[in-house]
Structure formats: C-alpha cells, structure tokens
Amino acid sequence: MLIALFTILLLGGSSSFVFDYIADTRDNIKIVVPKGERQKAALGTLKTMKKSERAYRKHLRKAGKELYKALDLPDDVESELHGVWTNHFAEVQRRNHEMLDLRFELREQLTREEWGAIFSSDSAEQESLPPQS
C-alpha cells in the first residue's frame, strides 16, 4: 500500500488535468444552444474534449504503473523515476494546453449569454431554460 500511496502523491492528483468537467456539459449545450450548426459545432468540440480526456485517463493509468515500478527500485535507479515522472508531467501540460485551446474554440461557438447559462456557478437560469429546437 505504501508504494501505491506514494504513486498517487507523485501523480499530483488525477485532476491535474483541470478542464475535464467542461467535456461533461453536453446536455446543457443541448438545452441552451438552439439546434443547428452552432450547436453541432459546440457538441463536436465537446466530443474532441472527451476524446482528449479519455486519452489522458489512459496515460494516467500507464504512468501510475510505471511510477509504481520505478518507486520500488533502489535509490541508485533514481534516473528511471525521474524519467517516468518527467514524461508524465509533460503529458499533463500538453493535455491541459490542448484543452485550453478547445475551451477557447467552444467560447467562439457560444454567445456570452449561453456561456453564462452553461457555466455560471450560480445560474439558476440554467435549470429554467426551456429546451431549444
């Protein structure tokens, strides 16, 4: 259990990947954005985000296994541990920037009001909006 706990600690929390929740707003987009080209484009962006999230989760499992193995090695194989961690962290950064690009792509596809209705933390309006057709 000790090595597993250190592995989790080293991964820095699975949510180092910070934008994954945006990819889960598909239902809200369908409610808030009228059916048509813009809705289609926004849903397409979310689909790409979801794909990136799945790829990240897959990477995370692989990195976890590699870190677990490297942590179990003696001190003199520190470079192995460093290598695995550096690769993992580079992937976290790459994926976060990819998601940031997609976040701005999505922003271009939505109006300010739609953005507020979908992402505002205190938007009761989100609940009350009728489905668009």
Binding site: L9, G12, G13, L100
Partner: protein, 154 residues
C-alpha cells in the same frame, strides 16, 4: 378487517422502506472516510507487526503519518484547483494569459510536491529492510484495497 390489514401492511412496508433507506444512507455516509481511516490503521498495524526494531518502527510510523498528511493536503489543493478553474472558466472574458498563469501555479505546486514525495518515500524505504519492505507490500486488507480506489480519484 381487510382495510385494517392493508393499512397495517402499508405501514410496515413504508417503515421497512424508510429503515432501508436510512441504513443505506448511513452506510454511504461512513464509507469513504471510515474505510480510508481503517486502511491507514491497518497499515500502521502492519508496520508494528513487521518491524521488530522499536526505533525503526517509530521512524517508519512517523514517516507513514507524514505520507497520510501529505495525501490530505493534496486532496485540499486539488479541491482548490477545481474551485479556481471553475471560477476562471465561468467568466467569458478570462484571457488565455490568466489560464496560463494558473497552469504555472499548478506546475510549481506539482514540482514541489514531487521533490517532497520522493524524499519521504526514500526515507521510508531506508527505514525498512528489503524483507520488511516485501512483507509490508504483501499486506492488503479489504479496507486498503477500497481506500486506494478512492484516494486514486483525488
């Protein structure tokens, strides 16, 4: 009489459902935190069992407590990261630079965390003999398995 029987049955059914729901809610309430606590207690118990030398045992327990504390801090930091990203994202006008600055903060945090984690891992492993290490890794209680799954989702 039939009405009375039906009323009685319906009441029993409602009471049964209520008790069932209460039991389920109670179970869920205690599960996450209590299972984690049980797993850490099991780990401490295993360390006491496996290490014969009192000084090394004390050191290993102290380092394990530090590890547990670090995991609690990681969970707090991740919650804060989540809160920050939601706040940044909900603002339509947040600039790319503001997000980049936020990423930089996470990077510094993760890098610092990495150094501390490796140092304490090495210190803990140094406090154990290779045999003790093997024996400890073999110990896997139900609570430990369950706790690792929940801690992994931090």
């Amino acid at each position: 009489m039939f009405d009375g029987f039906m009323r009685h049955s319906a009441m029993l059914l409602i009471m049964g459902l209520a008790l069932g729901i209460a039991a389920c809610a109670g179970k869920d309430d205690v599960s996450a935190i209590d299972v984690e606590q049980q797993a850490f207690d099991d780990l401490r118990f295993a360390i006491r069992e496996v290490i014969d030398d009192p000084l090394r045992e004390m050191e290993a327990l102290s380092l394990t407590n530090e590890l547990i504390e670090s995991l609690h801090h990681l969970r707090e930091r991740v919650t804060e990261r989540r809160r920050r990203v939601v706040a940044l994202n909900e603002n339509y006008d947040t600039s790319r630079e503001e997000f980049e600055a936020f990423f930089d903060e996470i990077e510094v945090d993760i890098q610092a965390n990495r150094v501390d984690a490796i140092e304490s891992e090495r210190a803990l492993l140094a406090a154990l003999t290779p045999e003790e290490r093997k024996s400890l890794e073999k110990v896997q209680t139900k609570a430990m398995k369950a706790a690792i799954s929940t801690i992994q989702s931090i």
